[in-house]
Amino acid sequence: MCLAIPGQLVAKSEAEGILTGRVKFGGISREVCMDFLPEAEVGDYVLVHVGFAISRIDEEEARKTYEYLEKTGLVDEELAAMRASDAAAIPTLQETVVELKA
């Protein structure tokens, strides 16, 4: 439902009691309303929906998750290689679940 796109806050200002910010999406930028997210700082990535910033993207959280995801991709490649050489090397369900939760 609700198309919301991450962009980087590059400037903040206030006009007529409305807090606004300029947010960069790829090669373009646009004014958005920052009233729901006054704490966001220039340089932060924010999620924008219908011209309003609705949440700040937690870069640390994103980095952590993504590192894990990338590892998953890598693990899968290695597994594929292993599987090719030794079918018995496929981990059991329990092992994989443990690995996922780690």
Binding site: M1, C2, D35, V50, I54, T65, L69, G73
Partner: protein, 372 residues
């Protein structure tokens, strides 16, 4: 683009799929509530990649699709008045009411304008003091704060020529209705990440407990969805039924408190009719007494016109995952995005429209192509 491109990475996606293949022992039936997620699944063909018997059911999460016909008819009636400038999101302009859509009203001389943000409608009202500006605002919990902010600003600015024609729907009551159905097949739920960015996750924790069903708050890119599907599958395989967040980069448990506050100030919960699903108790928002002056329905004394949905449409079964769009005899024949018979064909995010746009190669044997 940061936070988009890396979540469309093929290698990561296939890594997740590999894990999914290893842990999925059964053909679990999962539902993505949100139309944006349906759109991503279809556009990238993700459901085709899932281990054999796993199935995605496409939920009711497209606010355009579920906006009742009567409200579209009211918007059309307002747009036909010479003193009115009817302003709405691009999505709503092509949605057919019972007789016509807003673009056709515009073609016949109605002043219909498209905006990207509700605040632009305030600007239009200020620039046209002798006209009446009606903002036709629709949406789920994600859009409600922006629409509320427009009304709140209008009051602060003392705008007399601005009103909101609103159709706001709330996700949890609809999900509750689908899950309580005696024929429900859904075993795990991907909750809408952008809704939760606003309202937080409390309601979804409650749903997980109430229905003993795993719920994962998911994002909108292919990798997000695959990770959410993997997390749900892991829960199902282990017999857990918890609320977890996949979309941690944007969603926190409390949500956006400021946005919640403005919604609570301007709106109150009410019963609401959903196109395709019918009336659902406490599933909508209407304007509080203090803001009635900005309520288009009160201001223009718009009466409910009862309109029947075409009986041919099997959308209720589709939204419950009992049937697929391609099972509908009207699909791609009598029912197309240009002349939809039912809610899920209305916007690109609806399940039937998503199948129509992205999946017709599967249905080629069912319909003659190029002939519509």
């Amino acid at each position: 683009m940061k936070y988009i491109d890396e979540y469309r990475d093929e290698k990561v996606a296939h890594g997740l799929l590999g894990n999914l293949q290893r842990i999925a022992t059964r053909g679990w039936v999962l539902m993505e509530v949100c139309g944006g997620q349906t759109h991503t699944l279809m556009r990238y063909g993700i459901d085709e990649l899932l281990p054999n018997s796993m199935q995605m059911v496409h939920g009711p999460g497209c606010p355009v699709c579920v906006t009742p016909l009567e409200i579209i008819d009211k918007a059309v009636a307002l747009a036909e008045r010479p003193e009115v400038i009817l302003v709405s999101y691009g999505d709503m302009l092509r949605v057919p009411g019972s007789t016509t859509d807003l673009l056709h009203v515009k073609a016949r001389g109605g002043d219909v304008r498209m905006v990207y943000s509700p605040l632009e409608s305030l600007k239009i009202a200020r620039e046209n003091p002798t006209r009446e500006v009606v903002f036709f605002g629709i949406g789920f919990e994600t859009t409600a704060p922006a629409n509320a902010a427009a009304v709140w600003q209008a009051q602060r600015m003392g705008l007399k020529n601005f009103a909101l024609l609103a159709s706001h729907v709330l996700v949890p009551p609809a999900v509750r209705m689908l899950l309580s159905s005696p024929v429900n097949r859904v075993q795990g739920l991907i909750a809408p990440g952008h809704v939760c960015a606003i309202v937080g996750t409390r309601d979804y924790e409650a749903l997980a407990t109430e229905f003993h069903i795993p719920i994962v708050v998911g994002g909108f890119e292919p990798v997000d969805l695959l990770e959410a599907i993997l997390m749900l599958t892991a829960q199902l395989e282990e017999g857990r039924a918890e609320m977890e967040i996949q979309y941690t980069r944007s969603v926190s448990a409390p949500g956006n408190v400021r946005a919640q506050r403005i919604v609570a100030e301007v709106f109150e919960v009410c019963d609401q009719k959903w196109r395709g699903l019918g009336p659902i108790a406490k599933s909508g928002l209407r304007m509080q007494e203090a803001f009635r002056a900005f309520d288009a329905e009160a201001k223009y004394d718009l009466h409910d016109i009862a309109v029947d949905e075409p009986t041919e449409c099997i959308s209720a079964e589709i939204l419950q995952g009992l049937k697929r769009p391609t099972d509908c005899p009207a699909f791609a024949g009598r029912c197309t995005p240009e002349s939809p018979l039912g809610a899920p064909m209305v916007s690109a995010e609806g399940a039937c429209a998503a199948y129509y746009h992205y999946r017709r190669h599967e249905a080629v044997s069912l319909v003659s192509i190029g002939g519509n």
